[in-house]
């Protein structure tokens, strides 16, 4: 029901890619969207990304609705992390456009034309996006409380007392209210990642990107981080893009699952469709391989793997 009707099948997309900056921003393009009641919070159009001669993303079209939880699965190197990094403005697209909340991210309008965005424009639009990284990237020279308050004070110009009150409330939500005076090096990986989540959440983004946030963790610490994310997801209003290898987690939390391979979105649908009834051969073999790997290291914490419902 969700994500199906109004989501584009990117394989059928006409080529809108290369000189996208020239494209005028018309009224909502009628070409593909069947229904257009809700404006997507994020809209990728013809996004291509190459590093040198290596093409990582190939003409991606993707809409994410406000509050929607989208999980990205796929083999490493399939471009899913790059998709998030382009949105967080950590990488610049080679061609194509990204809209955030109805506004161009990498471009801005000048005399009716789209030109590359300047830092000021990026700064403004970027405020709607938050990200949690695989390696936490906490600030090691600041204690936990300051890690969380710093951006509220510097970016949102919030008075220190208010920022601290909010940070404390958020740290309590992730179960770390006892650790506010500690430094990141004194915490476990799971605790660090929960701080990183709190740090991103207090900025109240419209969409949060989770880039393999449990991949660097010891298996026994994965659960506490996933629980925090599930809690946040349950509140609903914030959209999420979850890049993950935790299939059970993706299935639990996602409204829609995308399978990427070779820089394309190969298949997408509800968790049931993707995990119980994968259509493409590539997804089938990915899930089979994945299940095989999980069977190998059975006994790791994160629960049983029941993804590939096909055999």
């Amino acid at each position: 029901m969700i994500g199906q009707t109004e989501t584009l099948r990117e394989t059928e997309q006409p080529d809108v890619a290369p000189p996208a900056p020239e494209r005028r921003r018309g009224p909502e393009e009628p070409e593909t969207n069947v229904k257009e009641e809700i404006r997507p919070i994020v809209r990728y159009r013809g996004i291509t990304k190459s590093f040198g001669s290596h093409q990582v993303l190939d003409r991606i079209d993707l809409d994410i609705r406000p509050g929607e939880k989208v999980a990205l699965i796929g083999p490493s190197g399939s471009g899913k992390t790059t998709l998030a990094r382009l949105l967080m403005t950590l990488e610049e697209p080679t061609s194509g456009t990204i809209e955030v909340d109805g506004e161009q991210l990498w471009h801005m309008e000048r005399k009716g034309r789209l030109v590359p965005a300047d830092e000021k424009h990026l700064h403004r639009v970027r405020g709607k996006i938050g990200m949690v990284f695989q390696h936490f990237n906490l600030f090691p020279h600041m204690n936990i409380l300051r890690n969380v308050t710093e951006a509220m004070v510097l970016v949102q110009r919030m008075p220190k007392e208010e920022a601290e009150a909010r940070a404390l409330a958020m740290l309590e939500r992730v179960g770390l209210q006892e650790r506010t005076k500690h430094y990141p090096a004194q915490l476990s990986g799971g605790q660090k990642q929960r701080v990183a989540i709190a740090r991103a959440l207090v900025m109240q983004p419209n969409i949060m990107l989770f880039d393999e946030v449990t991949s660097a963790l010891d298996p026994e610490l994965v659960g506490e981080v996933l629980d925090v994310i599930k809690n946040v997801a349950a509140e609903g209003e914030m959209a999420m893009m979850l890049i993950t290898h935790e299939m059970d987690f993706a299935r639990d939390i996602a409204d829609r699952v995308l399978f990427t391979d070779g820089g394309r979105i190969v298949e997408q649908g509800t968790p049931e469709q993707i995990f119980e009834n994968p259509r493409s051969e590539r997804l089938q073999s990915f899930l089979t391989r994945f299940r095989g790997r999980r069977a190998d290291d059975a006994g790791t914490s994160a629960g049983s793997m029941t993804a590939a419902g096909r055999e």
């Binding site: 967080m88 990237n137 510097l154 090096a185 004194q186």
Partner: protein, 223 residues
């Protein structure tokens, strides 16, 4: 040969100029620290119009002898109307010369900050300036402290070069004493001893600081 009573008699005269040597050292070090940072930043600049000239000038200064730079500052600049006192020329010369070394130290410190720190700053929407001031520089400085300490000692030992521009520091004083009494051995030896007495403990101090920083880092990581 060696006359102890004579040696003792000239000690006070030599001790009297130790402050001059220290002022030149610390003054030069301060200039080098202040100037080194913009050089390090400019060399990292994205625009080649900034990074290339700065790199080239810095390499030039680093690859030519301090003595020659001092002579230019003190004896050549007056031809262009810039007259510097020996102390000013000495501090500037030492400072400019060693700023090119300290710039390399800073660069190492800056590059030791992981890429993830920049990315996290970006994701939190900090501005470039905020990222530098709040995230990158505070993390770049501590690892450079021991190296900076070593450069301070190196600069201290370099101060006799300033005798070439008539600064009355230790070596100049020793030579003056020698030319009075025609006894150079005691005076010059004592200068060496004074340098040893000051730089050896400083070196130990720097090494202890280094160990302390390493140990703290390790203990924090271990927890």
């Amino acid at each position: 040969m060696w006359d102890w009573s004579y040696a003792w008699s000239i000690v006070p005269e030599l001790i009297k100029v130790v402050p001059i040597t220290l002022i030149a050292t610390f003054g030069g070090f301060a200039v080098a620290c202040l100037l080194g940072l913009p050089i390090a930043l400019a060399r990292r600049a994205r625009s080649r119009w900034i990074s290339w000239p700065v790199t080239w000038v810095a390499e030039f200064i680093r690859s030519t002898p301090l003595l020659i730079q001092l002579i230019v500052l003190f004896y050549a600049l007056p031809n262009y109307g810039i007259v510097l006192s020996p102390m000013t020329a000495g501090i500037l010369g030492l400072g400019i010369h060693y700023s090119t070394y300290l710039a390399e130290v800073y660069r190492g410190g800056i590059e030791s900050v992981p890429k993830g720190q920049w990315e996290a700053s970006r994701a939190l929407n900090l501005t470039k300036a905020q990222t530098w001031l709040r995230v990158v520089l505070p993390q770049s400085v501590p690892p450079t402290i021991p190296v900076m300490g070593n450069y301070l000692i190196v600069m201290f030992k370099e101060t006799p070069t300033l005798s070439a521009i008539t600064l009355v520091e230790l070596l100049t004083t020793a030579k003056a004493i020698g030319s009075h009494s025609f006894r150079y051995v005691e005076a010059i030896t004592l200068v060496g001893v004074i340098f040893l007495l000051l730089s050896y403990p400083s070196g130990l101090l720097v090494r202890r600081l280094e160990l302390h920083l390493k140990r703290r880092e390790r203990s924090v990581e271990a927890k």
